[in-house]
């Protein structure tokens, strides 16, 4: 507030001090800027549209070996709870791109098998603070791994643009109160006594995701969220930054997964729709 009012004041004083000539120059400069913006915008917008249309084409019909996306991810990119397939509509394009890259990446053949972390964390809960064990940045999925390898960088970009621009409105589902209460507690406050941060502290105050780095949890199928946490825990998904998500997933009990997934499934949420 302070700085903006300062700028305003200094601008006003400068305008007062300027001669007519400099005023004219200034207006000339201004119109040039406006012209630039006007000329650039449609181009960028039309290029964007081209990518989006190409992505739509690929998603709906596939191409050659590449099958269409819609059978699994839905016509509107809304996902499919029955086969734990995620919603893609409205996700951040960079996030979609990164996931496709990680699907396509070959895990190292000489991957070191690290002693699995005790799952029964109620008895021996522990935070594995070892962040020097690097995540290879891979994501295992029987279908997607082979599929993603067929996509070019251009394809990934197109699909990302297409899906990120789809509108999505969640239809909140009813759950019993206790489940929701526990889920909310985990989503908003985590388990501080076990060093477990809340979901919303990274995934956004309403679980709506944050930029490219933290995907939304709201509006994702319950089955997808649970399946992904299971994958984190078993090491089948390993493509996070600094093992942030792996550390957290390791501490979630089966009950936690259900509760928190139900909580997010119960939230009303919309993206790209006014």
């Amino acid at each position: 507030m302070k700085s903006s009012s300062n700028i305003k004041r200094s601008l006003v004083s400068r305008l007062k001090n300027m001669s007519v000539w400099s005023m004219f120059l200034f207006l000339l400069f201004l119109s040039f800027i406006i012209f630039l913006i006007q000329s650039v915008l449609p181009i960028s917008s039309s290029s964007h549209n081209l990518h989006r249309l190409a992505g739509e084409q690929l998603a709906l019909n596939g191409r050659g070996n590449i099958p269409a996306c819609v059978p699994c991810h839905g016509l509107q990119g809304q996902g499919n709870a029955g086969i734990a397939s995620p919603r893609l509509a409205g996700l951040h394009p960079d996030y979609i791109k990164k996931q496709l890259e990680d699907y396509a990446r070959d895990p190292l053949r000489t991957r070191a098998v690290v002693e699995p972390i005790a799952r029964d964390y109620i008895k021996t809960p522990r935070t594995y603070g070892d962040l020097t064990v690097f995540t290879p940045g891979t994501r295992y999925d029987p279908k997607m791994n082979s599929l993603a390898k067929l996509l070019s960088a251009e394809d990934r970009h197109n699909l990302a643009i297409y899906y990120s621009n789809l509108a999505f409105v969640a239809s909140p589902k009813a759950y019993d109160f206790e489940t929701l209460e526990r889920g909310e507690d985990l989503a908003l406050r985590g388990k501080p006594e076990y060093g477990l941060p809340s979901c919303n502290s990274c995934h956004g105050p309403k679980g709506q995701g944050f930029r490219a780095i933290f995907p939304p949890l709201a509006g994702q199928p319950v089955t997808y969220i649970i399946a992904q946490i299971n994958k984190w825990q078993t090491g089948k998904r390993d493509n996070d930054h600094l093992a942030l998500m792996r550390n957290i997933a390791d501490q979630l009990t089966d009950g936690d997964k259900v509760n928190v997934a139900a909580y997010y499934d119960n939230l009303s949420y919309s993206v790209n729709s006014e």
Binding site: L108, A112, V114, I122, K123, T124, P125, R126, T127, Y128, G129, D130, L131, T132, V133, F134, T135, P136, G137, E181, E184, D185, L188, R189, G190, P192, E193, Y194, G195, L196, P197, S198, S201, C202, G204, P205, F210, R211, I213, H241, L242, A243, L244, M245, N247, I248
Partner: protein
């Protein structure tokens, strides 16, 4: 005249750098961090070479505060909820006192519940206590005032302000069952000890590896796109805590980082990494200590309080 002034500025600045607790220039090169710390290599497709310490929590080790769902539905509960609102969204519910982009829960993590994250439940039973900073016995209310003045870079609520009462009530509710005057496990921040001199250069690398992801390259945090304040709080710059706050002490900041950062991976940084990144952050720009004059702040920007 002007030249003489500039000369003085130069002299003072050099003097100022000279009295830093670290001699950054000499000791920065004692360790080639790229050799020892593989996490600093850009490639993420590598195998572990060094296993750091594991922080194990036994069940019942830390105090478990009551659930938010159990806030009673009466006027006391209303006060608790008001306190919780102020605590978690200070810029909204205590707008007239908040001076920067931080909330109470930016430092007191997880709504003041996290052990080693300056938990409220460990603080409530400790006040009134003697504080070295003020050299007096301070009550919880006075401590909260200091939070607003320094960490929030704002205005202290008066002792009888409703916001103050709400915050104290929330703290009390959160401490339900915690013993008074007893040092609980997980209170305040964990201990950090120094094995070698601090180096802001190494700290910069640690910052870029571990912190930048959320707090941004410029340390100014990341804002919500809808303008509702910060998703990840700024760690320096005009919207961060000022130079009078507790986190502006290198050791305190290192303790905070060690015990809480990155989220979900507390105690993952070594003591040395925490201290290095703390001194790197300590050297950055932030609002001046309101108890120190403009001139002092200009000539000695990083002077200890």
């Amino acid at each position: 005249m002007k030249r003489i002034f500039l000369q003085w500025v130069l002299v003072f600045s050099v003097y100022n750098i000279g009295v830093l607790p670290v001699a950054a220039q000499e000791l920065g090169q004692s360790l080639d961090s790229l050799e020892v710390r593989p996490s600093l290599v850009n490639s993420r497709l590598s195998l572990p070479t060094q296993l750091t310490q594991v922080h194990v929590i036994s069940p019942g080790e830390y105090f478990a505060p009551p659930l938010v769902a159990d806030i009673p539905d009466d006027r006391f509960g209303d006060m608790v909820r008001m306190g919780r609102n102020i605590f978690t969204k200070t810029g909204v519910y205590a707008k007239r006192y908040a001076g920067n982009g931080l909330n109470c829960s930016s430092c007191h993590l997880q709504e003041g519940r996290k052990p080693h994250g300056i938990p409220l439940w460990a603080a409530y039973g400790r006040y009134p206590m003697y504080r070295h900073k003020t050299r007096t016995v301070v009550t919880l209310e006075e401590r909260i005032q200091d939070c607003f003045i320094y960490s929030m870079d704002g205005i202290a609520p008066t002792l009888d302000a409703p916001e103050m009462k709400a915050l104290v009530t929330y703290t009390k509710w959160l401490s339900k069952g915690a013993p008074v005057g007893v040092d609980l496990p997980g209170r305040g921040l964990p201990n950090v000890s120094r094995t070698q001199d601090l180096d802001p250069k190494r700290g910069k690398i640690v910052y870029e590896t571990h912190c930048e992801f959320c707090h941004g390259k410029d340390g100014k945090g990341q804002k919500h796109t809808n303008g509702e304040g910060y998703m990840f709080p700024p760690v320096w710059g005009g919207d961060s805590y000022n130079k009078g706050s507790g986190l502006q002490r290198v050791r305190t900041l290192a303790k905070f980082i060690k015990g809480n950062m990155p989220l979900g991976a507390s105690f993952s940084l070594t003591n040395q990494e925490s201290l290095d990144v703390a001194i790197y952050i300590w050297l950055q720009e932030r609002p001046r200590n309101p108890k120190m004059s403009q001139a002092m702040d200009f000539f000695f920007p990083n002077m200890a309080r």
